[in-house]
Amino acid sequence: MAEERNIQYVEASVEALQEEMRRDSSIFYIGQGIGQRGGNFKQSKGLWEEFGDRRVRDMPISELGQVGMGVGAAMAGARPVVDIVFLDMIMEAMGQIVEQAATIHYTSNGKFKVPLVVRAAMGSARCTGPHHSRCFYSWFAHIPGLKVVLPSSATDVKGLMKTAIRDDGPVIFIEHKFFYNKKGPVPTGEYAIPFGKANVCRKGKDVTILAMSLMVWHAMEAAERLEKEGISVEVIDPRTIVPFDELALLESVHKTGRLLIVDEAQQFCGFSGEAAAIVSSKAFDSLDAPIRRMGALHTPHPFNPVLEAAMLPSVDGIVAEVRRLVAS
């Protein structure tokens, strides 16, 4: 990965789609406003111009139908990418995702493959409110048969999108709205990032922070601040929560003995509990203090900025949690 350019996260994701669609004519892309418009977030910019209506098609407001189509097309030899745009809008499609896409490979005894990518953007981009901010990725992780990707950087979004498209099973690919126009270094050459390999974003020895998506950025910022206080933080981004890179996390915890899990989703019955449970059972004796978890407050997303800020995990909050963790 010698050469790099500094491009937007969203541009990197489009590059991945473009390169893969050129490589494989069985890939098509459907969603609302992703054609000539190029996507609400510019997440499909240029695809329609290059590949036309047949492979890049605007959809009616039919999330269930779109994903159902994706399932059928995937079973019939195509490789569909279905863009839901706002993750919140995926609700009506859950049946097609869970009962059909996730299940058919198993139930057909391996005879059918469902190479489907369901793409959506999650999280709050400042006051998007209760219907445009949710982060319920743990739902998908709870369902056998689905892989769940949460790319946190421009490099990752491109490399992981390629792997998602090449995967022979259904992949839930969840970007963060907040990132789309953020720039980051992206290798020039062809590359793909494997699923299930965590990224140690920052090495440290006192505390491990496990974070996904936007929370990785918060954790990195917190880590820098904490360094000034002499607290050395290791930040781990699993990148995919299914498959989940348990080893990378356990290794880190064996070293630091302290773990903070930061999750933009509400905490109860989500991913943070699972990660904590895994670590407490598998690194029981390495833990010098109880694992701490941070998540959004257990409320819907309020529209008001003050309330929203109070509801979401913040850099200040992470710094405070780490201090407590080190003190304990």
């Binding site: 406003g33 418009r37 605007d58 409110g129 219907h131 819907p300 529209f303 900025p305 003050v306 309330l307």
Partner: protein
């Protein structure tokens, strides 16, 4: 057609309130002080005005992401509505909801909605509650052309028809869902014709003619109250502005189309018709316009001077 002086003046006032309210919202939003994103109803006011003129505070309305007009027409107080969209604690929902989540039980307003078509089965349910009580109240669901291809439209309307519930479905067909033309996403752009699939009457009208909307909605609502079941009304209208504040609204729509529709502005048309029919004078219309201006100015001030929300309330009302 009913064109009494009272009717013309009240519909004119109703539309002026929506229009001026939203232009003030737009101005405020553009000044950068308003959070979130907003979808303006400007140009489509005839639908909300004509339909809601038949509704009492005890009737129910479900709305959309483009719902400021529905909220005002149904009776949500203008000050609290302005403050809500601004995200102020003095808003009708304490600023927790904002533009796409305005709720007011005091006038049967079951919410604007961030989810397209979600309000349709909700209206059916409200009608079910009313019919259980036999209280003669009705529910009206407003939704766009984009909702017509959505699953909730199908199940919500079929259920209302099967149970013969007192609900009226009002489609605001402005030809586009975001930037996607309706004809690109369905082979049948005649929304009213879809009523037949559910065995209910469907009718397509000029949604920028408030008097026609008023007449047709009146009949449908009367049928509903009389226990004769739902009606689907397609109001052909247009969104002269962008899909949301920030979208220029051009590019995906021919300039001529936009220009042409601007000539059909429902407020201008009602004024013209009223004056032509001699039931209203320039002067009194101007007068109403100015009264509304003051009202809106007050609403703006009310919202502006409101304090910021108290973070300590963030966890209130999660569980009833």
């Amino acid at each position: 057609m009913n064109m009494s002086r009272e009717l013309v003046l009240s519909l004119y006032r109703s539309m002026q309130r929506m229009r001026q309210f939203e232009l003030r919202i737009q101005q405020t939003y553009r000044s950068g002080v308003m959070p979130g994103f907003i979808h303006l109803y400007v140009g489509e006011e005839a639908v909300a005005a004509g339909v809601c003129a038949h509704l009492s505070r005890e009737d129910y309305v479900t709305s959309t992401h483009r719902g400021h007009g529905h909220a005002l027409a149904k009776g949500v107080p203008i000050n609290e509505a302005f403050a809500e969209i601004w995200g102020k604690p003095t808003g009708v929902n304490g600023g927790r909801g904002g533009s796409m989540h305005i709720y007011d039980p005091s006038c049967g307003f079951l919410g604007t909605n961030g989810i397209v078509a979600a309000g349709i089965p909700i209206a059916t349910g409200a009608a079910m509650a009313a019919s259980l009580r036999d209280d003669g109240h009705v529910a009206v669901s407003f939704f766009g052309d984009g909702a017509v291809n959505n699953c909730a439209f199908h199940e919500g309307i079929n259920l209302a028809a099967a149970l013969l519930l007192p609900v009226v479905f009002v489609c605001e067909n402005n030809l586009y869902a975001t930037e996607t033309p309706f004809h690109r996403v369905t082979r049948n752009t005649d929304v009213a014709s879809r009523a037949a699939a559910y065995g209910i009457p469907g009718i397509s009208i000029d949604g920028n003619d408030v008097l026609e909307v008023h007449r047709v909605a009146g009949e449908a609502i009367a049928r509903a109250r009389a226990g004769e079941g739902p009606t689907l009304i397609e109001c052909k209208t247009y969104r002269p502005l962008g899909h949301f504040e920030g979208d220029p609204g051009t590019g995906y729509r021919p300039k001529e189309e936009i220009a042409e529709w601007k000539l059909r502005d429902p407020i201008v048309r009602l004024a013209g018709a009223g004056i032509k029919a001699g039931v209203a004078s320039e002067a009194e219309l101007k007068d109403i316009e100015q009264q509304v201006e003051r009202e809106i100015e007050e609403a703006y001030e009310f919202a502006r001077v409101s304090p910021e929300a108290d973070a300590a309330t963030v966890s209130d009302f999660v569980y009833a």
